[in-house]
């Protein structure tokens, strides 16, 4: 347990500055938007979104996390398995905290904009799904979405670390060509319709299930994780 705390400490020291910078920039731009709307009025409503920046931040953080704790954790004698568990639990907690902070910011600003009748609106991607929303549902959905994207980047960073840049591009290329690029394929329409009709619990469950599967898979291969780039997998 103590070494898990060590991994969490490494990660919290690593991301505390970038987190602070990220939220400062996000809040600064929101305040700037409010000032523009108040002092330089223009016809129409200024639209903002805060989920996507947080998602991007978590994707970047998730991608960096593994390498950081592998480098520093292993140098202090932490096992690959504990490094992996430490990083995954940290990622989960970070997604949850980010969802809480995001929703507090989102709700506060939305309430403030509404009561002050400022012509600025903050969108939430969850509103695109056909579900009744409240603070708790927003929070749960945010957590599931953040967790899902952070998990993807986390796993990709492990694959990149393990097999290198070119093989990773190869795998992503095949994935893009076969799954993502055929945009006219009916499965995209079906998925869109399913998201639109699904209850929030179904959406949350699906996203969390995908995250759990993504994060569980490498757990069984932690002993094979190489620490040094020229090392043959154990």
């Amino acid at each position: 347990m103590k070494e898990l705390k060590g991994v969490w400490k490494i990660l919290s020291l690593e991301i505390s500055r970038s987190t602070l910078i990220f939220w400062s920039i996000l809040l600064f731009f929101l305040l700037l938007g409010i000032m523009f709307s108040v002092f330089i009025p223009f016809p129409g409503v200024m639209n903002w979104n805060t989920n996507v920046p947080v998602m991007i931040f978590l994707i970047i953080t998730g991608a960096r996390m593994f390498k950081v704790c592998l480098l520093y954790g292993s140098s202090f004698g932490c096992t690959r398995k504990n490094i992996y568990i430490g990083a995954v639990t940290f990622l989960t907690i970070l997604s949850l905290i980010s969802a809480i902070v995001h929703n507090v910011v989102f709700s506060s600003f939305s309430y403030f904009l509404e009561t002050m009748e400022i012509s600025m609106f903050i969108n939430n991607v969850i509103e695109f799904a056909n579900i009744q929303t409240n603070f708790f549902i927003f929070l749960l959905m945010d957590f599931a979405i953040f967790m899902f994207f952070a998990s993807i980047s986390y796993i990709l960073s492990i694959i990149w670390h393990q097999i290198g840049t070119i093989p990773l591009y190869g795998i992503l290329g095949v994935f893009l060509l076969s799954v993502l690029l055929p945009t006219m394929h009916p499965y995209w329409r079906d998925l869109g319709l399913w998201i639109y009709d699904a209850s929030y619990l179904s959406l949350v469950s699906l996203l969390l299930l995908c995250s759990v599967i993504l994060l569980s898979f490498p757990y069984f291969f932690t002993k094979q994780i190489k620490i040094f780039s020229r090392e043959k997998p154990a």
Partner: protein
Amino acid sequence: MTYRLDVHVPSYTHGKKEALKNIRFQLESGTIYGLWGRNGAGKTTLMRCITGLLKVNKGYVQLNEASPFENREVLEKICFIQENHPLFYLWKVKDALKVASYFYPNWSWEKAKKCLVTFELQDSLKVNQMSKGMKTALALTIGLSSGAPVLIFDEPTNGLDASLREKFYDLLMDEHSLGDKIIILSTHYIQELQRYIEELIVLHDGELILQESLERIRERTGYIHGKKETLPSYINNENILDRKQIGPMLRLMIEDESLVDKFDENVDLQDYLLRKTDGEVGEETLHEGA
């Protein structure tokens, strides 16, 4: 408690290169070992195998009969301070020590404070504000405070000035005096460390070529001087490591137990190791007045 480190690595390959071969030795607690080898001799690979950073596929590395690879119970007993030890640039001294304290159950804050005072490091100093020597001092502080029964230092004095090097050796001797530690110092600069090292492990091209106490090495190796005509019985000795001719005078470095009484001068350890790993007898002729 006493500890015993068994290393038996018949072969370890990096891609196509065989980085280690025919390695077999045992280390016991209460001794300071020196690990010497030229660049690319396999010292770092060996230390990484011992500390579980690399998995030994052929053979084994065991601390009290347990493998360190992915074994937390063993890894918490080994503290490996690497050359340019990874320290995140935004960490403060206190952060680095706090992180390290989580990984070593016998961590001593008292020793950490003593080391910080000795190395003149301030708690609030950030890694990116440190000189190379300060970073080394911080890494050494971690090693010395870890309380781990196996301490491994790779080029421990890299970047330290003479005064700090002396202070480090003093602190290391304090740790050694506890008597229950296996201490391994890997270095290129054997001259300075020979005062502290009790036993030497020498690697050459990934192979273990020597594991012996410094005393034994000094006993059976030395220089014999004399005119070429007066040394006919030694000239063809098969244990000559180095032959230096200065005008009519000849100086031979010989590793031969039977000649202990004949040696004029003790061997210089650095010279001995260089000749030992040269692969052939060193020949040098210096002309008088040169």
